[in-house]
Symmetry: C3
Subunit: 337 residues, 3 copies
């Protein structure tokens, strides 16, 4: 595996879940696989869960880890050719990236969307520069438009809890209010992975295969069709929630699909959108659904205290599965070296 960005990069998801379960039962099963192999984690943005879980995953496999925090402000990379570099950019990516690739065996990249230039963000420019110029396998630790380690952890979590209670899980991705403009990486990947699981007719519930996947959000927040084609979009949040087995809440800013000028913006004052907050009444509309969120979460905005603290909330096991998803990905990369 030379790149990990999308659900399809994993191939058969049933096999991927089998590997996840194997790692979870013994996370040090492959602890010599990474001997004398070095993971370089490059952070252009802050990180808590990804930083800790990916380091842990690499150490589970016996890898060495180097963490590089790139202060985006202090170290601006020139990307164009033919430029006289007499400004604030002191290095060209055509040197910086091959050099980073020289000192490691695998590279993880965290590089958030800038939320101003949709084409630049959705081309995954920074990520693909590393793929093209590093000479090493690269994986996304949340990039401009995707967060596959999170989505894989989410799928693992759903597989663990779905099998116990439903035939074919109904999974609802719901927008929720937030005071700041956030990227679409998490909802994009979650939608993509749920759709791919359904396409592969992944056996998750008791008797029927696949996922009944529904997305609900206010008008204007339509996600990019590359990630959602085939998914049901239901603008009425209550209708969407009916019969749901899993509620996956997340805020995202305008993806610029139906409102191109709004890309990366908050379309309505969040005070007007508080009826989208997932509270106990919302959860009563569901089929005793589990609550999920990728964290960090703002309580009172995305979800109320009682819902996130309820026994049916999966936010902590979901976060803990980040170690499992990262271990599987790194294991596959190491096995393909």
């Amino acid at each position: 595996m030379n790149s990990f960005l999308n659900a399809k990069d994993l191939g058969d998801l049933k096999e991927a879940l089998r590997e996840a379960a194997e790692i979870k039962s013994d996370r040090f099963r492959y602890d010599t696989l990474g001997k004398n192999k070095t993971l370089l984690m490059v952070f252009f943005n802050n990180s808590l869960r990804t930083r800790l879980s990916t380091q842990k995953a690499a150490m589970n496999l016996g890898m060495n880890v180097i963490v590089l925090d790139v202060n985006a402000g202090a170290w601006k990379l020139e990307t164009e050719r033919g430029v006289i570099m007499d400004g604030d950019k002191s290095e060209h990516l055509l040197e910086a990236i091959p050099v980073m690739g020289s000192f490691c065996d695998v590279i993880g990249i965290r590089s958030f969307a800038g939320l101003t230039d949709r084409d630049y963000d959705y081309a995954e420019t920074v990520y693909h520069q590393f793929v093209q110029h590093s000479g090493k396998p690269v994986f996304a630790m949340e990039t401009a438009t995707v967060h596959p380690l999170q989505a894989f952890a989410d799928l693992i979590t759903i597989s663990e809890y779905a099998s116990k209670r439903c035939k074919r899980p109904k999974v609802v991705l719901t927008w929720a209010p937030h005071p700041r403009a956030l990227p679409q990486a998490v909802p994009n990947s979650f939608a993509q992975w749920m759709q791919e699981a359904d396409r592969q007719a992944l056996p998750l519930g008791g008797s029927k295969a696949g996922i009944d996947f529904v997305i609900t959000h206010p008008e204007g927040y339509e996600l990019d069709p590359d990630f959602t084609t085939g998914a049901t979009v239901e603008y009425d949040q209550r209708k969407a929630f009916e019969g749901a087995d899993f509620i996956y809440a997340k805020n995202w800013s305008c993806p610029g699909v139906t409102h191109p000028a709004g890309y990366g913006k908050i379309l309505h004052d969040y005070h007007q959108m508080m009826h989208w907050t997932v509270d106990a009444e919302h959860m009563e509309w569901t089929n005793h659904a589990h609550f999920m969120h990728c964290l960090p979460v703002r309580r009172g905005m995305i979800v109320t205290d009682d819902v996130i603290e309820a026994p049916s909330s999966l936010v902590i096991p979901e976060a803990a599965n980040r170690e499992i998803s990262a271990t599987v990905i790194l294991k596959r990369i190491l096995q393909s070296l």
Copy 2:
């Protein structure tokens, strides 16, 4: 051992000193004990000695280490329930801490006193949140009111030097001037450990057990009785120093015990307090005492160059023993997993 905050958490100090001596004679004796165990070091404040010595200790035991520097300004945790989190706090501790606990086996916490809210500081709020919500053993790498890794290193140092020269060591903790307001963590722990050593009649000197422990400081700087009950307080620095075998100098701000309104403040302009600086004349009052300080130390304020550079100064071996105290604590935690 599930938490390490106080002298009593170590139980029998004689046994603890035996383990320290064992580690010191072969610091890699237990270098497989920590295999596939991960220490997470969480720093809410800067650190030099603690950062280096605790990492070194973990590596002595074969552990993996993840260092997390939490910029207190950038990552404010909400601690209340029922709050609409639309301000600058983007995560609730009830999510953040269990998540951190998911990716490690042991957690070290550095979190200094804010020095504005005495109740909050002395309740050790941050530390206890980690104990309660992380699900993992937690130890203090200097918290609001204690610095037990330092105090244990100090005790090890005293045990190494006392046995050579005195029957029952007289140990004096002396306040000294400083231009900034400092926490009480170091003097609190030092006092607590000295008192506990005396209570256990720890055999340190040649023939008599325990420690003759005296605290001296200007009026207003009385330490919290929880840490000092039973200790002799002598406001006359000269009288305190007479016959001393060890002088332990440290500045601390007002603990707010006798002067509640002064909590966390400097009570007198330090220019007026320079007669408290430990110089050669002060040391002449003692029984050829060893000089100790936890470092970093401001020369000319706390102590003069000649005293800290004298052969009787123990500041470097004392700092080096930080590796030993941390290795013993981590060893005990690993053995109890």
Copy 3:
């Protein structure tokens, strides 16, 4: 080897190159040599290549690594005795350095020139403080006046490419324009290593030993004679380039040798110096020379896109050899412990 600052510290360069080739053919050949040994990397300045390559080198040898980023602004060390430390310096180097030495086995130092006080910089004050007070072997990861890990990597690179094509390589160090004032560490070390290779009559080319080394720069940029004595200085860049096999480009600020008042300054507006930029026409003057630069490099200022991207450019293999030079140095230090 107790200190690594200069070419002479390596002794016989032929043997050093043999060790480099051995490491390059199997970089994990000595992967147990560093067991239970800890490298402390102390950064007073930013780093990308040195940070990554030196960590990788230490891990190649099975060492533990602790990285300490010292914010020069936040942690000012007092260096004088007899001072009352009531200002912004909270620790004295006479405590800080021995303490750092207590928790590791080897220390790497990055500490750039301040470019204001020539005597202070050229005395290598910070580096020698570590040598004198840490009690541990110390090596330079670019200090005020030298960058030996870079120069050794450069020599390895020249040895790899010279043997294939020339009898006795002509190596030209050329100044090139830059918008900011840069230290002289890289050109100093490069000149020193080339001269030492010549002095030892190192067999690099096909039949003749040593290096024909020429330095070219505008008047006023004369390097310190301690590093260049015996080297040819040619102010006419075109004459210098004629017949060259290797062009090593680098900017440096005024070394203050012929222009003492200009130390650390840019002597001419760089817009007037753009004829020094290495472009295709410059390279045509040479004997199909390889282009070298230590990186990071500003394109359009130091070198044009076509030259740095040409097959004859060695900037990436040169950077990759930083892992090799660092591994050899650390191996030697470990073998001497």
